[in-house]
Every structure is written in C-alpha cells, then in structure tokens.
Amino acid sequence: MAAEKLTPSEYIGHHLSFNAKSVGDGSFWVLHYDTLIMSAILGVVVFGFLWWVVRGATSGVPSKRQAFVELAVEFVDDQVKSIFHGNRHVFLAPLALTVFVWVLFMNAMDFLPVDIMAKFYHIIGLEHWRSVPTSDINATFALALSVWVLMIFFSIKVKGLGGWIHELFCSPFGTNPLIWPANLAFNLIEYISKPLSHSLRLFGNMYAGEIIFLLLGMWAATGLAGTFFGALLGAGWAIFHILIVVLQAFIFMMLTVVYISMAHESH
C-alpha cells in the first residue's frame, strides 16, 4: 500500500488488523477469517501433500519426493525418540510431525512480502487480511492449549485421576500434608506458565518479525535512500527470519513433545 495519505500508525494498523467477523454478541464471539482460512489452506495443502506422498510410499527404493518426506519424518521421529520412551508411533510422533510441519508453514507465510500481498488481497477484495496465522495470538494459543489439554489427558490416562491429583499435591516437594499448599501452588503455576510460554514465544517471534518488516516497508516510503536501505535491511531480516521461522517451529514441536512426555512420567 503506497502511503500518500496514510500516517505510519495507520499503515501499520492497517497491516495488523484482522479480517474479523462478529458471530455473536460481545467481543469474544469474533472469528478471524484470515487466520482460520490461511491456516486451513496451509493444513490442507501441506498435509494433503504428505498424504499424497505417503499413499504411494514404497518400502523399496524411495522416490526423491518420498525420501524428502521421510527425511522430515525421521528428523521428527529422532527428536521424539530421544525424549519420549513409550510407544511414540501411536500418538506422540505423529502429533509432533503435525505441529512441526503446520507451524513451520504458518511461520513461513512471513516470507511473503507484506505490501505486495496486501495489494493482491486488495485486488481480490480483501481489505484486512494477515498472511501469517502464527502472528495471531489466537492461533498460537489454540495450539498451546490443545497441547495443554493433551498433557492433562495423558497425565490422567497414565497415572489415573487419583494419581494425577496425588501428584498435584505431593510433588515436587514431598508428601507431607504441611507442604501440600506449596506443591499445589507450584503445580498450578507450572500448568499456567506452560501454555503461556509455549504460545507467547511463538507469537512474539512471529509478530515482532512482521512488525520489523512493516517498519522497513515504511522506511521505504520515505525516499530513495529509505527504499534502498529498506530493501537491503529487509533482505537481511528475511534471511535471518528463515532461521527464526524454522527454529520457532522446531522449539514449538520440542516443547510439545517435552510437555506430553513429562505427563507420561510419574514423580
């Protein structure tokens, strides 16, 4: 969006507003169509690709396509294997693959140049449309809370409801009734901080990345020198962002695996 009349805050505000549709009364009953549709498209495309490759998977000499998918899968599988010591193939390893691949591609939307995409969305009639689902806190919280629910589910499944409650009160400090409150407080803080740190880390990284791209884009509107250095720094930031995108996806996956395998271990 060329900024003839826009002020900088309008420019950034325009880029950072969601395509929100109210579906009920109150501020909670709102859906961010851009987040949902972008992530759904990515999910369908990426997991459709995986499914298409896997459906024709051969145990003989693999095609390049299959070898590539196997590389990704074995990378994830190795990570899970080094952390989790149960039967990972039933649930945890596929979960880790889902998280890693999906988050990776949602993050990778950050590579799309913000202004060109805004122009494109404008042409197809979308005024507010954000490309990066993981820079929406709803998306990262959705993933983190799902993992959180799974964590509690596996904790109860492995230890039983009684065992889980026992662990809430009796770990990590001991079984003495006098320190039950301390244990409970400790565990509650842990249960609250886990999804928060899990989701905010990813959100913060992606959101900050987007804002820096926007600031550089704004600089480019100030004149020739701004355009030149904006482009230069934008390229630098994009290259650095390749690392961040992959690293954050990897960290998100690793934390998912760690949380759920911790839920499998009794103290």
């Binding site: 949902l36 051969t58 145990s59 889902t98 709803n138 959705a142 809370l145």
Partner: protein, 156 residues
C-alpha cells in the same frame, strides 16, 4: 491481542490435522520405513552369512589340500620303499642265480677235467704200451701180457 472464538476454531482445525496425521500420514510411511530397514538388515545379515560361509569353505579346501599332500607324500614314500624292496629282491635273486650258474659251471668244469683225465689216462697207457711194445717188441707178446698191461693202465 484479543482472545476470541478464533482460538477454538483454530483448535478444532488443529485437532482435525492431528487426527489426519495419526490416521493417514504416519502409519503407512512408518510401515514403509520399517519394512525397508528390515530388508536392509536382512541383506546385511545375508552378506555376513555369505562371508562366513566363504571363510569356512576356504578352511575346508585348505584342509583338503593339506590332507591330499599328506596322502601323496605317504604314497610316494611307500612307492620308494617298494622300489627299494624290489631292487633288493632282484639283487638277491640275481646273486643266487649267479651263484647257481657258477656252481653249475664249476661242476661242469670238474667233469670236463675228469673226462680229460680219463682220456689222458687211456692215451698215456696206450702210449706206454706202444712204447713198451717198441722196446719189448720181441720179448713181450701182447696177448700174453695183456692182463699185466691192463693192470698198469688202471694204475695210471
């Protein structure tokens, strides 16, 4: 930074993707990978087995060659011994034959000598008679003194 219904909608799509991966993506690929791993492991094991078999066969063949060499040398030794025996026997036989021939020849020579002696004896007596006849032509009648002449001839 506003939490809203998007969170739950996103969680639902996450759940669907997890289900899809668990159900349709992971198992076939895992099966393919594990089957291939097994095939490779089997191949490696077969190779190892083949190597061991080759080693065993080499050992067996070496042993067989050794045995054959041993047998051959014993056969040669036997043959040499037999050859010496035969030569020894032949020598003995030849010696015995030679002795026999020698003995025969000696006996023959003795016979010849005796015969010659007989002949000589007869001739000497005849010669003596002839000499005596010449000397005693007139006094001795051969017919009368025949007995005496015979006695002399026998004594010679």
């Amino acid at each position: 930074m506003n939490i809203n219904l998007t969170l739950f909608a996103q969680a639902v799509s996450f759940a669907i993707l997890i289900w899809f991966t668990v159900k349709f993506v992971w198992p076939p690929l895992l099966k393919a990978i594990e089957t291939r791993q097994k095939t490779i492991a089997d191949g490696l094991a077969a190779g190892e087995r083949g190597k061991q078999e080759l080693e065993a066969a080499t050992q067996r063949s070496t042993a067989a060659v050794e045995e054959a060499k041993l047998k051959a040398s014993s056969i040669i030794a036997q043959a040499e011994k037999r050859a010496t025996d035969i030569i020894e026997e032949a020598k003995n036989n030849a010696k015995a034959e030679g002795d026999r021939i020698l003995a025969g020849a000696k006996a023959e020579i003795d016979q010849e000598v005796n015969r010659a002696k007989e002949g000589l004896r007869a001739q000497v007596s005849a010669l003596a008679v002839a000499g005596a006849e010449k000397i005693l032509r007139k006094e001795i009648d051969a017919k009368v003194h025949a007995d005496m002449l015979n006695t002399i001839a026998n004594e010679l």
